[in-house]
């Protein structure tokens, strides 16, 4: 599925269009830009990426968004909805911030808004996260949301001629609510323009 609008303070998550795909191709062609992604995307042709968009839009268990900041396309993110009806959970499928806008807090702001949607709008109970153990920046930003380690896998990823360990984390919705009590999609339900007059 393609996600709708989620507004953060600095970043907005919005629906993907075909016009976004040329940026994806450019980003994915840069191996340095994708090196810490657990599910590292391969470079593709534009036709392949259009096909990916069609398939992603149809996929019921996944929601994908583009990130926008300061009026520019800044990256993308996706979550997978986990095993209904055995659990009500999400898994972070991807988070990519364009190299030119990294270290400006855009990823952190987008993630906070995304988690507000997951917890306060979808009402999910917990979330799962999978990172490189050596991804210091990634671990820091997710730790700030409340993710805590639950597993350490050995020799999980392979690149640069060696294996790398992973870091798996969990975030309980209650933990997020406690840390961010003001992160509510609609504090008292959406108000119609007529009611506001």
């Amino acid at each position: 599925m393609l996600g709708g609008t989620i507004r953060g303070k600095r970043a907005t998550l919005r629906t993907t269009t075909e016009a976004d795909l040329s940026d994806h191709l450019r980003w994915h062609a840069d191996g340095e830009a994708t090196r810490w992604m657990p599910r590292r995307p391969d470079p593709q042709s534009l036709d392949q990426r259009k096909e990916w968009l069609k398939e992603t839009a149809k996929e019921q268990g996944l929601i994908h968004w583009e990130l926008e900041a300061d009026g520019a396309h800044a990256g993308y993110c996706a979550v997978r909805l986990m095993w209904p009806p055995m659990a009500d959970a999400w898994a972070i499928e991807s988070l990519f911030v364009a190299t030119g806008v990294r270290r400006r807090g855009i990823g952190g702001d987008a993630l906070r808004a995304l988690h507000r949607y997951l917890v306060d709008y979808l009402g999910l109970a917990f979330g799962d996260l999978w990172l490189y153990r050596d991804d210091v920046a990634g671990r820091r930003v997710f730790a700030s949301l409340g993710y805590a380690e639950y597993a350490h896998g050995h020799d999980v990823f392979y690149r640069d001629g060696r294996y790398w360990d992973d870091w798996r984390g969990i975030l309980r919705a209650a933990e997020f609510r406690e840390r961010f009590p003001d992160e509510l999609e609609y504090p008292a339900g959406p108000t119609s323009p007529a009611a506001r007059r």
């Binding site: 009806p85 959970a89 917990f126 639950y150 020799d155 392979y158």
Partner: protein, 183 residues
Amino acid sequence: MLGPRIAGDRGVSLAPSTLEDYKLYPRWAAQPEITYFWGPRAGNWIEAGAEERFKEAAKDDRGIHWSIRFDDRTIGLTGIDGIDWIRRQGESYIIIGEHQLHGRGIASEAVRLRTRFAFRELNLHRVYNWIVYDNVGSRRANEKEGYREQGRVPKVFKRGLRRHDLWLGEILRSEWERRHGDS
């Protein structure tokens, strides 16, 4: 792909699955004793669904799939899914479909055969799996072969008001080879 025939001990062997084996699956998965620790006990259980699953398994180039044979009949399925051929690892699964055969060491033997094949024939580096912690039979079958806990997610698998931990296990070829040497 389908795995080759591998003879084991105590009347257990792995064999390439057949369509007839896959048709047994809905009968197994419908039993409460079999599915408590995994599926929702519901599924696409028409015959055409079995055919589709079998065709997908047979042509799957990122998975290897066997039937578990005991006393010359098929009593379960096992395999490794989602193999990443660069990272050289995949996720294992197993189902023993007949409850009266649980606790007799059949899963342990199937895990032993599957793990040896994964490392010695497929040249995998690591195999991992998710098991509900309280599914003691399945977890122990893996632990006996050398799978160890890499982590546990507390109380996320729900059954009614009950919440079970999820156990994430892994086995590295280097560790397995240390245990098994030249055998």
